[in-house]
């Protein structure tokens, strides 16, 4: 314990946005220092079933996704915002914590704040906490993602004024109404960037009879993805395996088709927002009508999402600055405020 505290002197406080798609690390006083995909490549020595060792983590591992030989498999240790593979999450966190510490002299033992989905269960939260402790954290704090996102976006959360935030992440979308440093209402739907990718893969298979990979679907989403129709549709040419012929073929897909593919997923998010507005106390609802909804998370970068929600709800909707890093930045600021606010932002567990 004493030694851990000693090592703590040489460690920086970290805020980790442990996302399904990307893991971001914010270092106190330095800002975002790491933004890597939440992917781990595992090498199985002596064939399948043999002892496992980590071959690559993060961006390096993502390059291997879908391109690995028999003895290497790529794992996404998080699914729907929570841990799906405990050991791999621990290995990944260990790698990231080590990477953000320059010192090789002592094994770092930082104080870590991890952002968790608001709908995660006690068991899932405990798993995240233990995983971070196993990765060498001296102390672990958990904060709910919408709260971190709101702080990161710059919403004055301490005011007695309702503010609504919608965080569209990789695996989940979280909607929350915040007032006086607390969540008045929060809800989470298991729809996010990953579901958008799946929807595109399914759409292409159904309409073009072609199977495309996860990474290709992500590229389509980033380049021509739309949540609201544009006057001029954009087009993109991608390669996939034709299911009927069994050979690779190039297809051209346009942005309106992508919108059609995403309709179902977007409807789920809209339903969550409408449900939140329905269940918000009237005083806070009036505040939200005035101030609007702030979009954060990587999903907020989907073009026209703010327009769609604004049209559907009749509220002003806008995207926060640098929405991808809002949660990690907010977590970092919560960590900075920790001593002053006596852990006001933190979850009970």
């Amino acid at each position: 314990m004493v030694f851990k505290s000693l090592r703590g002197l040489f460690s920086n406080d970290l805020s980790i946005d442990l996302g399904t798609a990307n893991t971001l690390v914010y270092v106190r006083g330095q800002g975002i220092v790491l933004n890597e995909p939440s992917v781990v490549a595992v090498r199985m020595d002596r064939g399948p079933g043999g002892p496992q060792s980590v071959a690559a983590v993060g961006g390096e591992a993502k390059l291997m996704l879908g391109r690995t030989p028999g003895n290497i498999r790529t794992v996404r240790p998080l699914k729907d915002g929570v841990i799906a593979d405990f050991n791999m999450t621990e290995a990944m966190l260990q790698h990231f914590i080590k990477k953000v510490h320059e010192s090789r002299f002592l094994r770092p033992s930082p104080r870590v704040l991890v952002c968790v989905p608001c709908s995660s269960t006690q068991v899932e939260r405990k798993a995240i906490k233990e995983s971070a402790e196993g990765a060498g954290a001296r102390e672990v704090f958990l904060v709910e993602e919408p709260m971190a996102a709101a702080i990161g976006a710059g919403i004055p959360v301490h005011e007695a004024r309702g503010a609504m935030v919608l965080d569209v992440g990789g695996g989940t979308s979280e909607v929350a109404v915040i007032s006086l440093n607390g969540l008045v209402y929060s809800n989470s739907v298991r729809v996010g960037g990953d579901q958008f990718d799946d929807a595109i893969v399914n759409f292409v298979r159904r309409n073009y009879g072609t199977l495309i990979g996860e990474s290709t679907a992500e590229q389509i989403k980033i380049k021509i993805g739309r949540a609201w129709p544009d006057e001029e549709a954009e087009e993109l040419s991608v390669s996939g395996r034709n299911l009927a012929e069994g050979v690779p073929r190039r297809i051209t897909i346009n942005s309106n088709e992508v919108l059609e593919a995403l309709t179902e997923s977007l409807a789920s998010i809209l339903d969550a927002v409408k449900a939140a507005l329905e269940q918000t106390p009237p005083e806070l609802c009036a505040d939200v009508v005035e101030t609007g909804i702030v979009l954060t998370g990587g999903g907020a970068l989907l073009k026209g999402l703010d327009h769609l929600i604004s049209e559907e709800t009749g509220l002003p909707v806008f995207v926060a600055d640098d929405p991808l890093t809002c949660v990690a930045r907010g977590g970092g600021r919560a960590l900075e405020l920790m001593d002053e606010n006596h852990g006001d932002f933190f979850t009970s567990n």
Partner: protein
């Protein structure tokens, strides 16, 4: 008038108002289109936005400008300009600590100083502890010697000898020497004070018997000074003319002193029986004479 406009750059609110007027749109039209309160739009145009958090203000300006179809680059400029008038987002919360190189040096120096201080204290403590332990052992020795002398005096008093031994008259060795030395010196001093002097040419013998032992002592004249079973715990003194022939039935239980000199009884016989002539050189002479 136009020249004046060119010289003074327009504020964000003025620019938005100008663009809206150029498109012949009312505030109500814009408010309906972008789902914003009309009053709020008026405040943005008149730059009375201090009550709005930067995140909201930027969002509103961006939405307004997009509706007016102002180019993205210009929108970005407007947003950053509006942000610069407002307190930065960080100011709502505690400012993050800046990593100052001076702080790093200060921290490193304080670590070094603290370790030096701890090291010095530890060294001083150990040094002091060693010194104290040495002092304690010397003090113990002195006390020990004092107790021995006192016990000797008490012993002599118990023997029924009147008078008091002044420690000052004992040889100095009694104060500093070991156990046997101290006691013997005290005894010599006592003997010198209390006993009558022996005639010239005679020696004084003393026997301290810790367990029952047969004792035979014959002097130079062949006179038997002692021939008896001495009981354990008894002490006896004799005088006679040397050389003495001595036989001790249980040598290990007897301490023999002649003229204050203790006699080593080891090597004078087997089975714990000591048979000796004192002084030793005379024993050899006598044995030589016997053989002759």
């Amino acid at each position: 008038m136009k020249q004046q406009h060119d010289l003074i750059p327009m504020t964000t609110g003025e620019l938005l108002k100008q663009e809206r007027s150029a498109r012949k749109l009312s505030l109500a039209d814009v408010a309906r289109a972008i789902n914003l309160d009309e009053k709020l739009l008026d405040e943005i145009e008149s730059e009375q936005t201090t009550h709005l958090a930067p995140v909201y203000l930027k969002g509103y300006i961006r939405a307004y400008a997009r509706y007016l179809q102002i180019g993205e680059d210009k929108i970005q400029a407007l947003v950053s300009e509006s942000g610069s008038h407002e307190p930065p987002i960080q100011n709502i919360f505690a400012a993050p600590p800046k990593s100052n190189p001076l702080d790093k040096w200060l921290r490193a120096t304080s670590y070094v100083l603290a370790s030096l201080l701890i090291g010095t204290l530890a060294w001083q403590f150990s040094h002091e502890a060693v010194r104290l332990s040495q002092d304690g052992s010397q003090l113990g020795k002195t006390t020990d010697n004092r107790q021995r002398i006192e016990s000797t005096i008490k012993l002599d008093q118990a023997k029924g000898i009147r008078g008091t031994v002044n420690a000052s008259i004992a040889p100095l060795g009694a104060l500093h020497g070991g156990n046997a030395e101290g006691i013997d010196a005290a005894e010599q001093a006592w003997a010198a004070v209390s006993r009558p002097p022996v005639p010239d040419g005679e020696s004084r013998l003393k026997l301290v018997v810790s367990a029952d032992s047969w004792v035979e002592i014959t002097d130079a004249n062949g006179q038997q000074i002692e021939m008896d079973l001495l009981r354990g715990g008894s002490e006896k003194g004799y005088h006679g003319k040397p050389p003495f022939r001595i036989l001790l039935g249980r040598a290990s239980a007897v301490r023999l002193t002649i003229d204050g000199e203790p006699v080593d009884l080891t090597g004078y016989g087997a089975d714990d029986i000591a048979q000796l002539t004192w002084p030793k050189n005379l024993q050899a002479d006598n044995s030589g004479q016997d053989e002759n």
